[in-house]
């Protein structure tokens, strides 16, 4: 009996943590999303009206801002995830060889990972500066001409994406490098009897062996890319216009800036939760399908 009670004591902190910081906010914000609550005003229950307004269901017009910000989040979701995976894997592949100064270079390459995203955004303001930024200077130096990073919609979107890629490539690099280094050398030695091609070795030996790690990294990056707010906040302020405003940025502005429409912001956030759950479910379904 005493032993039984002891195990509950040990479980208690974790249970309290989950209840207080996961379950309660989840239920409370769902309740909030069913109201028209603005901070400072009495909330009124309105059912799923907030969801209907965002999605344009029934008599409501679709929330154009939600759609446009969701499209930019989708752009980051696809573009940033794919680019980060590509560069991270490539750099890991390079570092998986015996080259001079690799250890020092590895330390340098991982540095952006430890910077606050908002600080990277501010740094991006300098780097992408149209007139005197080093990126434009390099582009001009190699004859590609200057890019209006903060003025034209598509370059502004790329500026946000590249800053995010810059921060997260080291994360992919570290995980994938660890996976590559766990591939037994004898596999390569056997394969090298048949081919010397690096590409063939990578395609048929390295890639299958690192695929589970890549899948996990991809999932984390996809969910992470849906949450991006700090980089556009500091880099572009969501502009020009609102083309670099992400969905989360929009939810933040709706709930916590000026109008404090917490009910609508909670509904926006919940829709994001649904999307994230769908993505992770698909991923785990595919993983299960593959490995069972």
């Amino acid at each position: 009996m005493t032993n039984n009670r002891a195990k509950y004591y040990f479980l208690m902190p974790g249970v309290i943590w989950i209840l207080a910081f996961t379950l309660f906010p989840l239920l409370y914000s769902f309740g909030l999303s069913l109201t028209n609550y603005r901070l400072g005003r009495n909330p009124k229950y309105i059912g799923f009206e907030n969801y209907a307004e965002i999605l344009g269901i029934g008599d409501e017009k679709v929330d154009k801002k939600a759609v446009s910000t969701a499209s930019f989040s989708a752009f980051l979701f696809l573009g940033s995830t794919a680019t980060t995976l590509f560069f991270g894997t490539f750099v890991a592949w390079v570092f998986n060889h015996n080259l001079p100064f690799l250890r020092q270079m590895r330390a340098v390459i991982t540095m952006p990972l430890f910077a606050a995203p908002i600080a990277l955004g501010w740094l991006g303001v300098v780097l992408f500066n149209e007139q005197s930024g080093p990126i434009n200077n390099v582009l001009e130096g190699i004859g590609l001409g200057r890019v209006n990073w903060f003025i034209e919609p598509m370059p502004a979107r790329f500026a946000v994406m590249l800053t995010d890629v810059w921060q997260w490539t080291p994360f992919v690099f570290i995980v994938v490098l660890a996976a590559m280094q766990s591939v037994p050398d004898d596999l390569y030695e056997s394969a090298q009897l048949d081919t010397k091609s690096n590409w063939v070795l990578f395609r048929w030996i390295t890639f299958p062996m690192i695929a589970p790690a890549l899948g996990t990294v991809m999932l984390l990056r996809m969910v992470e890319s849906l949450k991006i707010i700090d980089i556009p906040y500091s880099l572009t302020r969501g502009g020009p216009g609102s083309v670099t405003q992400t969905y989360v940025y929009y939810a933040y502005e709706t709930g916590l800036v000026g109008s404090f429409q917490l009910g609508e912001a909670a509904a926006l956030a919940y829709l994001m939760v649904v999307v994230s759950i769908v993505i992770t479910s698909i991923y785990f379904y595919r993983v299960r399908e593959r490995f069972e």
Binding site: L39, E130, G239, G241, V243, L256, V257, S259
Partner: protein
């Protein structure tokens, strides 16, 4: 005996002289070096000396009875201890603490968080701030929610530094008040002026070149926005400053979140606002002196023909400057003009005082300043048509901007001590000094800063602090003319949700139009749609009542 008496008298005179000097050289026992240490507070000895002189001339009373051992918290627009607006609060903190024995805590709030931090503090019942500096457009939220309290009961009380709302130009005084009561103490008077390169535009050689290229005389002095466009179009891309590179016509800042929307309001005023007929051209009717909403039903006016014309004009004007300006913040546009790379800009009074700082400005002695131009075409709401009249253009002034000033929290536990600091900063001697520094972002507001006949200042007041006399004559007279001479002025939007209407919608829609993502008409139609939704959310009837009160609309035609 006679010799002894003479010695005694000499000693008395000497001692009184010594103590007299000592008394003059300290402020509650603190020297200029104590109050304005270099580099922590002041940057130069000159700044230290001038600030101390201003403080000594302010006749600050002893506030120890109010403040000994107490602490007050000041929330302020966050731009650092040497930045605009917040710099003022840091700069005089030591003086306040010396005069009261109290402690002043300063909490900086970034510009883009102003609409969040202060309301959230009140709405969640934290009441962190005894006093805070926000923008005058937030009065609608603050007063209607009961977050700030009137200060009339202390104005004129000898326990506090002297200042009087009567010294403030009426257009700015109105921004300190609501419903006949004074809520704010004077600090900054924001209005936008046209600035240009006086040396270039008055050069006969450039006049000849203009006439040769355009086929008609240069329209200078600039009277209308259309004149300005003609001039900036001519100069844009020419190397008129002789540095070997092509230079700009206009310098604007148009990045979202960077206060660019204010410039649209200033410009659009002459395209969209008509003064009232009759004795009082500033009288508000359904058709005259309205800019934001229809005062009868809160229908947004932002997509009416005058506003659309103005935005199309702004697009044309912006094309006579650098493309990069679409991504610029305020300081970048100023620096481009102050660095001598643009023929003109229109912006706040800061440009006038910053132009005198040779570390930041290359145009000291070459500054031209005037009221913002009139427009030779505008939309008459009553007629329902666009009027074109080049002989009698439509002229509308402005008090565009934050006119940043302190307001006291209703929940302050030390209201008199809080007012002590508000009054200290509002004192004419100190406020005059602040407005001459440039870096503090404090602009002229008051008669003691304006030249005759509008005020009592004289040229020597400005040359004494190192300003160029002719620059100041143009700048200060333009400032005075804007608030006293224009037949009318664009009404100031200060209703609940102003930040939402302006910063979260108009600002973004303008950016979309200026960067080619939408046409002027589309951008402003979208804005009108957004505004209608916001008004619905906030309750139309309540918004209408506050709007009518804010602009002084009494109903009828």
């Amino acid at each position: 005996m006679k010799a002894r008496f003479t010695i005694l008298i000499s000693i008395v005179v000497l001692l009184s002289g010594v103590f007299g000097v000592a008394a003059q050289d300290t402020f509650f026992g603190q020297t200029a070096e104590d109050l304005f240490p270099i580099p922590e507070v002041a940057e130069t000895e000159l700044e230290q000396t001038l600030a101390f002189e201003a403080l000594m001339n302010a006749n600050i009373p002893d506030g120890h009875a109010l403040g000994e051992g107490k602490t007050i918290t000041f929330g302020v627009l966050g731009q650092g201890s040497r930045g605009g607006i917040s710099g003022t609060i840091y700069f005089w903190r030591n003086a306040f603490e010396a005069a009261t024995g109290a402690e002043l805590e300063i909490v900086e709030i970034p510009y883009n968080q102003l609409g969040t931090t202060i309301p959230a503090d009140f709405l969640t019942g934290q009441y962190t701030y005894d006093v805070f500096i926000g923008a005058a457009w937030q009065y609608g939220d603050w007063v209607s929610n009961g977050w700030i309290q009137p200060i009339d009961q202390w104005i004129g009380d000898e326990r506090f530094a002297h200042w009087s709302p009567e010294d403030t130009a009426p257009a700015f005084r109105a921004l300190l008040q609501w419903g006949g009561e004074t809520y704010g103490s004077q600090m900054d008077g924001d209005a936008q002026l046209l600035y240009y390169r006086h040396d270039i535009l008055s050069d006969p050689e450039w006049h000849a070149a203009y006439e040769e290229e355009v086929g008609e005389p240069m329209p200078y002095p600039i009277v209308t926005w259309q004149d300005l466009l003609a001039i900036t179009s001519f100069f844009n891309g020419k190397d008129w400053n002789g540095d070997g590179d092509p230079d700009d016509g206009i310098s604007l800042h148009l990045a979202p979140g960077g206060q660019g929307h204010f410039h649209f309001a200033t410009l659009a005023a002459s395209f969209a606002v008509t003064p009232a007929d009759g004795d009082d051209p500033r009288a508000v009717s359904k058709y005259d002196n309205v800019f934001w909403f229809d005062p009868d039903d809160m229908t947004p006016l932002i997509n009416e023909p005058g506003h659309v014309m103005a935005l199309e004009f702004l697009q044309e004007l912006a094309a006579t400057g650098q493309e990069a300006q679409f991504g610029w913040q305020l300081g970048e546009a100023w620096d481009n003009f102050l660095g001598g790379n643009a023929i003109a800009t229109f912006s706040w009074g800061d440009v006038g005082s910053l132009s005198q700082n040779v570390e930041r400005s290359a145009i000291r002695g070459s500054l031209g300043a005037d009221v913002t131009p009139c427009s030779s075409e505008w939309y008459d709401r009553e007629l329902g048509e666009v009027v074109v009249d080049t002989e009698n253009p439509n002229c509308v002034g402005n008090t565009t901007g934050g006119s940043w000033h302190p307001t006291m929290s209703t929940f302050s536990e030390n209201p008199e001590l809080t007012y002590f600091y508000m009054a200290l900063i509002a004192n004419p001697s100190i406020n005059f000094y602040n407005a001459t520094t440039g870096w503090q972002g404090v602009d002229p507001c008051c008669t003691y800063q304006l030249y005759e006949p509008r005020g009592t200042a004289v040229s020597e007041d400005y040359t004494a602090v190192g300003f160029d006399a002719s620059d100041m004559e143009r700048y200060i007279n333009a400032y005075g003319s804007n608030v006293y001479d224009k037949p009318t002025s664009v009404t100031y939007l200060r209703i609940p949700g102003t930040l939402e209407y302006i910063q979260e919608t108009l600002d973004i829609r303008l950016s979309e139009a200026m960067t080619g993502q939408s046409t002027a008409q589309e951008a402003l139609d979208n804005t009108a749609e957004d505004w209608a939704d916001i008004t619905d959310d906030l309750d139309v009837d309540s918004q209408l009542e506050i709007y009518q009160q804010a602009i002084g609309y009494m109903g009828g035609m």
